[in-house]
Symmetry: D2
């Protein structure tokens, strides 16, 4: 297949679907945007018109039936992901799926079984792995330049909390937001989580408490390789989108800093000043979104294993659920050995 | 015209033409890539195929005759620029033209007269003005946050010298490379150059000396507002593409630093390390190329004056020629009052 | 007393005693170095000769009896601190005492009772509070510029572990090393610790395990004001002495970075490089040692409360002991309400 | 002499004399502060009392006669330097002398002849050579890590201009302020200046123009090794004391940045902020003052050539005078070959 373009259908033409549609249409080599589907047909049409997409649909089943489509990018709302993975698998389509696969382990396992049975590729949208700086940090660790890993610090703070309505169905901070950080811990270290301790509070918006959720939290992970990971999350950082990490080991330390929108420095009578951090995740991870889709297209074209597997999706959700348990009982929670599988 | 897309023809499908073609096709709102021309028809076809461009030509006169084309982006070799500006003006097309307009003042003035007579827009490709950090610095100065400007420092160093063959017809370091810095001095300060002193040597490649050129130089400018500007240029910085500036005034200082390809920091037994600078001008100024074309398209759509005028092109070349004179006689050269016109 | 010099006796002429002796002799205004005592008389003599100190003693009781001495700086080995505090109190001397007061709460309380009864000043040597950057961070928090505090991160890593012999009697990593960080958490936030969860391992030197100690650990604190604190410690950072902190709140964030020994930046074909961090705590905290002694002298001269009280010493040890309990039982430990007293 | 302390007399107990006195008394190994002289006897007494100095004098001739004194540190007003160098030489004392030796070349040469005849050591107070970062940059260049030097940039800006009365007798900006930068150009490169072009204006205080002086200037130097140096000076940088340099060569670049008073970083809704630069030269060069005096003491004790020679003092003044000529005639000035001697 490597000489032909991979024809991709984007399912879901919301915010994230549009990013993937634009990337596939204009920045990904070896792929074409063949179809866009959205239950809101107007949304699909709008995206279709912008990129001259041949097939527009409100019902994605029509697309799954189309033999000219080789792959789908599932960008619809979270609760549809697992079913769509199963349907696309049954139709023999390769699958890129936004996180999370589902909020329930059993549902995820059922979807992954369908993928395995069909023998299609499945890549999960943990886009941060493809951010240039996070990817660089992983390279440093993987090449041994940090030595044996002892400590990992991950900071992940959003500029502003999502609407309460969204929070209600999101699975809470651990499954919606910290899930990226749990994946990052596994990605940076190449090791599995064996124990989780989480603590948190609704400091930004006390209303969250009624929903059984928190907006500020600290999670400690112990890994199979002996390393310890600290993660801190906040739903509101007034100074912008703050996403940092640090891996400390026997040979040194690698830090992932925040990129800046511009490289100015201003000195005046009060001190030295530089640019405010980015405030929108789409700006922050623009290159990561492009690179993850290129990676998916390449894994289809060259028949390689996907860079982020279904198992990665399963593990992140598993850790997220365990973090929820830990905060409920206020003590560390051990992951079942049967839940520990190798990172791919 | 603001509701319709501006149909643009790219003339010249070399390295820089391809950048503009891709931007117009995929990243510029309000424009479409309507035609590509190149004396090498295969080059034009290649670009055309990639972006599904309706008109492909080897002779751009066909394009200039086409009434469906509203604007041209002149990206062909430098010696063709002035004539193409005149031809496009005669055909009533708006013009984006890469620098330089020409190496001779008279030729530039003739081209600008044609533009004026035709009443079309002309924007010159001083892309650095659109780089986020340089643009930010200009905002700081223009808004008075730096106060009255006293000193400006501009560093501009390329990773590697161009081939000698290129240098021979380029007009030398002042007209080929430092011309961007002369424009930057005017842009950052909003003031005109009144005196120039340049000194330099062929330190990177002594062969340049036979061509009457240098590869390392230092230029001091005095401006009408009393400020002094220092510019240093080198054709070879082994650590990457180094483009910085600094404006110092009565209320403070604004520095333009180099952006980094990623935001990692690595600490080991030898010290602290971060990413190497970018090594390719197209990576360095990717956003600037996009933004300058958007600015051009907007000036056509909304009938605004172009952000970089033909006069700006003329002034930069004038300063470049004066720098060449200064180095030849080893003393400061005063710009003729008649050459001093307001920065637009 | 404000017009006279405070006559201070340094008790213990080891590494830390010499720092204080030199500072008192040469850099502290309002004080004089009146005496040096050390059980090793030669050590005392050496220091005495260097700074022309009138009184040299091997038995500090002679000094405590001397009416010309107003204050003592206790720099002898840790297990002597509590007794010396009591003796000095009984003798009516003001006291600066290196941390820890003792490893046992009851012993500390007995010593503090003696201080209170005698009405002398007691300042504990939590020198980091006087480091310019940590002090600056506290100012930012105290002045409200960070807003309500939600998260605190403290990193504290030593360049190399102490000898096993030292570790054996040090009280372990929480009472010997992290105690500074526990104090820093209280200092930066002005709030008390209510719950502690610690986890750790002997990753640097597995021999520590036999001693029941760890060399790498992560501690989570919950504070009375609702904020959460993460602390990470390592006994060996090959890249130098790494002491950072960060306070995050509703109005922003203040970071305490590592100072650098020099401000160079080196760019070459491999990237950008800067100086290695300091590798010796005495270099790192040179100014902090000076400033804490000046603060002590000023509190004596101007009859002010000491900047770091005996209660601060007690609380840090209390938290350290709780951290040890937490790691032993692998669950969070709550501090008894009776242990919660206001930070001074 | 290496086992004995060098007995030093400080001549001149003003601001700079006090710094040297304090350093000699408390921070320099191998030296003792044996005497302090000042025409204002009270000043001498004040310093003497603080450091228990045995000899206090208003007339330094008494000190020069004293056989117990081995060296003098000349810190009196500039116009007395040359005569004191001759007197101290005649008395067989080693000499540390603040810059400048004198404002006239002939007077300097006469003083240096006296030093040479007497065979005493003479070190000039170009303290910046001993600043940790500038010294580090010189090491990088000397060790070849920057390669062959092509370009040097030096920025030197004071927080505020001195009083007009001081300026009148200072020799002007080139001999008073930029003289440090001329020395730095020679120090960093190890090469001599062959041509100078200076331009400047009274932008901070127009009154300076009447005195024939400027407060803002740009100087270009050409060196014997082919490299070019740019220096910019301003008498008023509202953001603090700004002293930077950069050496660019065939293998890379080394930058000397400004040290910061503390290492905090503050993020809020408006951006990222860090500490204001130091605003007082004595804070900025505290360590440099200490290190230069230690270097002088060591050269006396171990009979080594001084790190900054009389010839270095002569050359810096020569360049400063040439810069003054250049600005007067507005063209480059060539240094006489006879003025070019090797840098020691």
């Amino acid at each position: 297949m490597s000489n032909q373009l991979v024809s991709i259908a984007v399912i879901g033409a919301g915010r994230i679907g549009r990013i993937h549609a634009e990337n596939i249409a204009t920045r990904i080599s070896g792929a074409r945007l063949a179809a866009v589907a959205d239950v809101n047909l107007n949304s699909a049409r709008e995206v279709g018109a912008r990129f001259q997409v041949p097939i527009i649909a409100s019902d994605c089943r029509n697309i799954l039936r189309d033999p000219s489509i080789q792959a789908v990018a599932i960008c619809s709302s979270s609760e549809t992901h697992a079913q769509l993975i199963e349907d696309a698998s049954a139709a023999g389509k390769h699958i890129f799926c936004e996180k999370p696969i589902d909020l329930k382990i059993e549902r995820i396992e059922k979807a992954l079984a369908a993928v395995q049975k069909a023998g299609v590729k499945l890549q999960i949208g943990f886009n941060r792995r493809f951010d240039p700086t996070f990817a660089r940090a992983r390279e440093f660790v993987a090449s041994g330049r940090v030595g044996e890993v002892h400590l990992v610090r991950i900071t992940s703070r959003d500029p502003a909390p999502p609407p309460l309505e969204y929070v209600k169905q999101s699975g809470g901070i651990f499954l919606d937001m910290a899930i990226h950080d749990f994946d990052m811990a596994r990605f940076l270290t190449g090791s599995e989580v064996v124990e989780i301790f989480a603590t948190g509070a609704a400091l930004v918006d006390p209303n969250l408490e009624r929903l059984g959720d928190v907006d500020t939290c600290v999670t400690t992970l112990r890994l199979q390789n002996g390393a310890m990971v600290m993660i801190d999350n906040s739903r509101r950082a007034v100074y912008g989108y703050d996403q940092r990490a640090e891996v400390f080991g026997t040979r040194g330390m690698i830090e992932v800093g925040n990129p800046v929108p511009d490289a100015h420095r201003h000195c005046d009578e009060t001190g030295t000043h530089s640019a405010k951090l980015q405030t929108f995740f789409i700006d922050r991870y623009q290159e990561a979104y492009r690179a993850e889709m290129q990676s998916f297209v390449d894994c289809v074209r060259f028949d390689r294993p996907p860079a982020v597997s279904g198992m990665d999706g399963l593990m992140a959700t598993t850790i997220g659920l365990a973090a929820g348990s830990s905060i409920a009982v206020n003590r560390p929670v051990t992951l079942n050995p049967s839940e520990l599988r190798g990172v791919t």
